[in-house]
């Protein structure tokens, strides 16, 4: 799926201008578009779809309230991505303090031959993501979990591709080490 690059953002800019021109109901189209585009990213950062829904709701409301401050309406995607990411980090931090111990306890004795359930993988990956800094976590999710191209991630994070590749390698080392300890 493409991201906030020029093609899609052209359509975003048209919508943003309509909203700023008074067609406030057109905001629903932007919401639909970015729930689809960033929904899985938000879930990964927040650990949970329900928490991600809360974070996305807050991000969309904040974006709406600040829409008139957006200098280039064609860049709504990348701009909203930053707002959403901040909300996701806030919600993830809040959530962490409520997670019961039994859901983060590490279970051992797994072998590659055993079938992994999604729940087991979720527990292990969530714990590994906790070891990453926010920047590394964002990049790791975008690249390794969602498989987005480096060019798209570079546009989203306003970072060069070479730096992103190093960031991904560093994140993979940390995640691999966490999974190895968990095994």
């Amino acid at each position: 799926m493409g991201l906030g690059g020029s093609g899609v953002d052209g359509a975003d800019g048209k919508l943003v201008r309509r909203i700023l021109g008074g067609e406030t109901h057109a905001y629903g189209k932007l919401v639909d578009r970015y729930v689809e585009r960033f929904g899985e990213y938000a879930t990964s950062l927040c650990r949970d779809a329900d928490i991600a829904a809360d974070a996305m709701q807050e991000a969309f409301i904040r974006a709406y309230d600040r829409l008139s401050t957006l200098k280039d309406p064609d860049q709504f995607g990348a701009w909203f991505f930053r707002i959403l990411t901040n909300q996701c980090h806030n919600h993830r931090d809040r959530r962490r303090s409520y997670v019961p111990l039994d859901t983060v306890a590490v279970s051992g004795g797994r072998t590659p031959d055993q079938d992994l359930t999604a729940a087991e993988a979720k527990r292990a990956i969530d714990a590994a993501l906790d070891r990453l800094t926010p920047d590394l976590r964002e990049t790791f999710v975008l690249r390794e979990i969602e498989g987005r191209p480096y060019s798209e991630i570079a546009a989203l994070q306003d970072t060069g591709e070479a730096a992103l590749r190093k960031r991904v390698e560093r994140a993979k080392e940390i995640v691999r080490a966490a999974l190895e300890e968990d095994a």
Partner: protein, 187 residues
């Protein structure tokens, strides 16, 4: 890094992706409901402000007489509307209300309002054969409803025959209709 590590890493990520569940349509609904609530609140404040603020009224006898004739005519129209069934009550307490728009150039026309969370595609008009007139009839509960027509999926236009227009809280106007228990009420 061993082959075992790589395999486990890839299998873990694959299983994690399989179980990933993104938020659904509830986000749109929650966001648009919150924004609609703000509009409603702002409109209601404007609505009630009109009643509590003083107004200067200038009366010209000839115009007052003409206005009286119009009011009588409107009352007759409302009575006719109820008899014709355009606003006939249906069993569950809602009232059938017909919305109509003449827009020959339109490809599609939809109705979005406070009664359908301002959904711009849920309530589609039907074009009258051989004319540029579009209409749709929907049940509405008694009360005050704000709405707009959505032409060709993107152009939001007020109802030129609306009973009233109210501030949407953002400097624009929504059309408004008042539905009473026995039919449409002219405001």
């Amino acid at each position: 890094m061993t082959e075992h590590d790589d395999t486990r890493y890839e299998r873990m990520l694959a299983a994690y992706r399989d179980g990933l569940r993104p938020p659904g349509d509830e986000v749109r609904q929650r966001v648009m409901t919150e924004l609609a609530g703000r509009r409603q609140g702002a409109a209601e404040r404007a609505w009630w402000r009109w009643f509590v603020q003083p107004h200067t009224v200038r009366v010209r006898p000839m115009l007052a007489a003409a206005a009286l004739v119009i009011v009588v005519g409107l009352s007759a129209s409302v009575s006719q509307l109820l008899v014709d069934g355009n606003g006939a009550a249906i069993p569950d307490g809602t009232v059938l209300v017909q919305f109509e728009l003449e827009f020959p150039q339109a490809e599609t026309v939809a109705l979005a309002g406070s009664f359908n969370d301002w959904n711009d595609s849920a309530t589609q008009f039907t074009r009258h054969e051989g004319s540029g007139v579009w209409s749709v009839t929907i049940p509405l509960p008694p009360g005050r409803h704000e709405y707009l027509f959505v032409v060709n999926g993107e152009q939001w236009v007020p109802d030129p025959r609306a009973h009233a227009a109210v501030d949407d809280g953002f400097g624009n106007l929504n059309s408004m209709i008042v539905v009473g228990p026995r039919g449409v009420v002219r405001s």
